[in-house]
Subunit: 369 residues, 2 copies
């Protein structure tokens, strides 16, 4: 817990220069104004280097305290404060974060979170299971049939692909109504609790209308793309929907923040802490061993960022995906442990029977049925 | 001009594998579904590699055509399509872009642009001049006094710092009303046309209210932070305001996209083409020779991306800043040419008389004025 907003940065490069660079960073992120020219009474709004810790052979760790009022209680400004200008500076990486619980609580964090999702799904003793509706190009009715099959197969979260928007093949309104109805039908037939999550990736001015339409149709949650829509869009949606509507964050367009080991934002901070702060109940990320390049260590860090204590906020659900298969489920459960949501998309279709593919996925995590 | 949405990617790494990686990329960004499992009729919605060009000693250049309908006419989905998942892939950089003029026109692009800003300011024969109101921690009245002095000094755009939001020292509503009034007073006294641009960096649900309040108060434009709020927020604001209200994009939080030379998005595409597509009339970026690390070549590329013909859209104004000074103005004008807006913030205060600092800045670009 902290009375300030605290950020820890790795400062790469010449260790002899690190103290000066840390002091400049504290000013850059808060005042962005020469300290010697700032009116003395404004010193209360300037960041302060609290600690400098040299790491032999590695970057210096600089802990900077920012007055909590600098965020003005708003997430966009908090992000500008933590990483705005310094995203443009070489050799600086945001690697940890803390903030007052009152500020975190006012932003809200995950409303459903790990425990809430388990409660909604009645799934207390196993990893959660998600899949994606795709490819784009299917008609709304075809996507609804697919959603039905995957729900009957026993999956928990039927989310739309981040690439489904308002294309002519399956316009948002028609698609969402048909898919929500299909999943409701499946649940009625099986007694299941599958949740359908449309992709909420439209223009700013369309967001509220699409939320209302989707909830009215029976959608149970939403997929968001904060790399494109901004993290505050998650917060906005979380604050707009009734209790018990989980929000999944998709990592599209976020990869560049973690590409360089000497710049950007650490994996656990971005996909864990920051997405939780915004209100994501689950964070999708590309697991090791799939089509993408995250290492096992990076994936473990993300899971830790989703689950570890942070500013009094609920835990989110680490959701590894990106080229996973049913065959890999035991390995993934072994690696991530039970507090995880596994996401398998295209590979459930591999044997030509997606309902059977979904059922096999479900059996793979719950062998005792 | 193009009938498709065309993206050019650098593919770094093993050239022998590049053809396979390009083909996988075209699928990843569109279908994200195994091609052999996708229903045949969905092939119309899949990206296609149009050209592969090996570059000796460098990355392969892959040109991919995406069916224009994949964007669904919406900017967020266009961004997911161009760079969503591949932000998470190693060794892939988005380096060029084209799209149908009809799609670009429907998104809107810069409504004011370079010519519009010159017209608004009556400044046809010189670089444009901008400054920033800061530091955070000043009271609303102090910021208004500062805005007055800088406008009297002869500057064109008085923008707020990206770090001004709704903090207790100068809450948004009071600050904007007082600053707008101060700049109007200055203009009335000098006959000038200075434009005041508040920072529009609040929560999603506050945006429309703040736009209305600011316009009502007499603000002439807005500063936006697309790295935090999303590029579609620029488009939303551009579509919401009356004609003749310029929008400046600030680069905070965008730096990670250009950090790595072998990943992310090329400088000219991000700060030039994509921001123009979103509707930015001017793009602030950190110039070479200041506190940041962009090279002269990268800065020249950004200016080119702002100004070169692109999908029938208006040019935006390259706006280098970040530790500039009046002394450097001749060098900067020589480098960037006349179609530029120079941004100097804190250094105008260096001699203790900011009005004189602003006037010196103005004289430096218009010696015969």
């Amino acid at each position: 817990m902290s009375d300030a907003i605290t950020a820890v940065y790795q400062i790469w490069g010449d260790q002899a220069e690190a103290a000066g660079r840390a002091a400049a960073l504290a000013v850059e992120q808060s005042h962005e104004f020469p300290a010697e020219l700032a009116p003395p009474h404004t010193a209360v709004s300037r960041g302060v280097v609290r600690e400098l810790r040299p790491v032999p052979g590695g970057p210096v760790l600089a802990t900077i305290d920012y007055p909590a009022d600098l965020a003005g209680g708003e997430l966009p400004q908090l992000l500008v404060l933590l990483f705005g200008n310094c995203s443009l500076l070489p050799g600086i990486r945001l690697v940890d974060l803390d903030l007052p619980q009152t500020l975190a609580a006012s932003l809200g964090g995950p409303r459903v979170g790990l425990d809430g999702l388990r409660h909604l799904l009645g799934a207390w003793d196993r990893p959660l299971l998600a899949t994606a509706l795709k490819p784009v190009g299917l008609a709304a009715g075809e996507l609804a049939d697919l959603a039905y099959d995957l729900a009957v197969g026993g999956l928990d979260l039927i989310k739309e692909d981040q690439g489904l928007a308002d294309q002519p093949w399956a316009p948002f309104d028609e698609r969402v109504q048909r898919c929500a109805e299909a999943v409701a039908t499946a649940n009625a037939e099986t007694g299941g609790r599958a949740i359908y999550l449309p992709a909420l990736n439209g223009p700013v001015g369309e967001v509220d209308r699409r939320i209302a339409l989707a909830l009215d149709a029976g959608a149970g949650g939403f997929l968001l793309v904060p790399g494109v829509g901004g993290l505050d869009l998650i917060r906005h949606v979380a604050a707009s929907v009734p209790p018990g509507v989980p929000l999944l964050a998709h990592p599209a367009f976020l990869g560049s923040f973690v590409t360089s080991p000497t710049a950007g934002i650490a994996h656990d901070v971005l996909f864990g802490l920051l997405l939780r702060l915004a209100g994501a109940d689950a964070a999708v990320f590309p697991s090791f061993g799939g089509r993408f390049s995250f290492t096992p260590e990076q994936c473990r860090a993300i899971a830790d960022g989703c689950l570890r204590p942070f500013a009094g906020l609920a835990a989110s659900v680490p959701t590894p995906g990106g080229g996973m298969s049913v065959q890999r489920v035991p390995e993934l459960v072994d690696f991530y442990g039970p507090d995880v949501m596994l996401l398998i998309g295209g590979e459930l279709h591999r044997d030509g029977d997606r309902r059977a593919g979904a059922a096999a996925f479900r059996r793979a995590v719950q062998p005792t049925g």
